[in-house]
Symmetry: C2
Subunit: 336 residues, 2 copies
DNA sequence: CTGAAAGCGCTTACAG
DNA sequence: CTGAAAGCGCTTACAG
């Protein structure tokens, strides 16, 4: 019983002895609305089952001008580790809403980006999520204004397109509050972000500062460095060698925390006994350090999911939505 | 000059004063073959440019029965970190071949998996790549035999479907060879894989053993543990506490190496002076350890790319293709 | 309650 | 060299 070519609606209809019209109504759940006789419905359903009929979505899309498809264009889909859970979140939300994700990765190449957007449009996607690996402001890619679109982890300065981003400033406040609550008010920060368009660094810094100010204190100092393990190690080592000391250290991401841990260990300083550490991201790496570092978590999964939901929600009011960052406690903050 | 609805081929043709047939030939690069007058070609191209015409791919797909789309179904698209570069590789290869990737993540749920496969079929994908996060044998999901398919990072025991996997056994040999070349022949291995269907562990182990045998020696011992940082740390600590010592340690993945590093450090042992360490995966994590751990690298990007290329290569001979794992040198093996 | 007909935007034999 | 026509598989007013 191997069928050669898939059954079409016409096959089903003729096998059930009805017109394509009737079969179509039944398959689209409009049997009641159309007051189709129960017997007819049963015959059609039987034919469908027997022939293993599956609607051809391409044909339906052509007719309906909807593809039940969302495009996801990103500079780096995978990039760093856990960030890819944006994709998981997006894909799960799409699935819930009966959509499927078509992905494209530009590698940051604006030319390729344009191509991808064009392609998505040709493919009639119901909308495009435009995502960046790191939180930043973006120059809106040409073509993106002519489709339904949502920005993910990035923002258009003119807010012409709805956007979903983490609340980095709130995260900064939470990081500082965590240390303050443990009685640590002598706080250094590792890693200022020199990348011009990046938003995470400045906002986290602003949040930290605001929280400390609110408690009548201020950042004790900043160790500038790139957001990488090796640079974190190097910078922290230099700082320590120069006599740098602090009861509390906030690292701008988990990789910096790893580098700082290495430097602290070499200097014979222990976490959290000598130094309390808080970092950002809440990546798996945070949980691998000893002790696990307390980290202000980026809600990647929810970011991805919300971007898709907003994209598909025609009532969406537009604007930027900030998703909260919550503190995931490890053992890196000393008990006060 | 805002156009309401996109131009169709009919618009282009009538604007250029030709039939849709002629316009279609020109747009599909068959102008020469059809010996269409250069003037006609020029007129059509001008109309295309002027109207910003873009072919409707849905219509074309319906007609051609090809969607220029490949499905990628995975248990965990993102899962662990760097593994997502399989996706990047797949996506890049698809792009080179003028295809686009439609993704679905099953979370390991067989029911959802079936749904996703059905959906891909309804969407007329030109083929499906079925990927697993960890290398293993799989029970072929129902429905996958009725589409063109390639397995990625997994194998069907009956080899009914072509498959692309890393050469873990070769990797195991390379790991052992690296230590032997440094004069280390007292080798312990951390992490046996108890997961029944997993293939990476047993194959790496077999490779290690084979290489050591070839040099007239054998594995000195095995420290069993899960492939995680925390379990690696715990197991290594217990082993060391019980007096365990070795000149060389092969860790089944980079996370285990991180755990082992932590345990060795606490025991006052230094890498590579006291112990040489080699691990598997070649993830970013490997490069973050101090010293960077020498790691036998999983070619994730190439795995993804090759899977898509084979899927789309109608001449493909079938069977399993092993991709080599190469040693990425760090500073964790002592100079001999 | 059900069917004949048009049409979504393409491609491609088939005729001239 | 170019065009009229059919058809891919659906959905949906419009008539009965």
């Amino acid at each position: 019983m191997t069928r050669r070519k898939p059954a079409t609606l016409r096959d089903v209809a003729s096998s059930a002895g009805v017109s394509r019209t009737t079969a179509s109504y039944i398959l689209n759940g409009r049997a009641d609305e159309m007051r189709i006789a129960p017997g007819t419905v049963a015959r059609v359903r039987a034919a469908v089952a027997e022939m293993d009929y599956r609607p051809n979505r391409t044909a339906r899309s052509l007719r309906m001008r909807r593809t039940a498809t969302v495009g996801l264009i990103s500079d780096q889909i995978a990039g760093q580790q856990y960030g890819s859970s944006m994709l998981t979140g997006a894909s799960a939300a799409a699935r819930e809403l009966q959509h499927v994700v078509v992905m494209g990765e530009s590698g940051g190449d604006p030319e390729l980006e344009r191509l991808l957007i064009d392609e998505m449009r040709e493919r009639d996607v119901d909308g495009v999520v435009y995502a960046t690996r790191t939180a930043r402001t973006v120059r809106l890619p040409e073509g993106l204004t002519e489709v339904r679109a949502v920005l993910l982890n990035c923002e258009d300065p003119d807010a012409r397109v709805p956007s979903v981003v983490p609340d980095d400033e709130g995260g900064g406040r939470a990081a500082a509050a965590t240390l303050l609550a443990a009685g640590v008010d002598d706080v250094w920060v590792m890693g200022e972000d020199p990348t011009p368009d990046a938003t995470a660094g400045p906002r986290r810094m602003a949040g930290i500062r605001a929280e400390l100010h609110a408690r009548g204190t201020d950042i004790a100092g900043v160790v500038p460095c790139d957001w990488s393990v090796t640079d974190g190690f190097a910078a922290a080592s230099r700082w320590l060698a120069a006599g740098g000391r602090a009861k509390g250290l906030i690292c701008m991401n988990d990789r910096l925390a790893m580098g700082a841990y290495q430097a602290l260990a070499e200097a014979g300083l222990r976490v959290p006994d000598d130094v309390s550490v808080v970092s950002f991201d809440g990546s798996a790496l945070a949980s691998w350090l000893r002790p696990e570092v307390t980290s202000v978590t980026l809600p990647f999964h929810d970011l991805g999911a919300l971007a898709v939901r907003r994209l598909l929600d025609l009532e969406d009011a537009g604007g930027t939505v900030l998703l909260p960052m919550t503190v995931r406690a490890g053992g890196s903050v000393r008990d006060s």
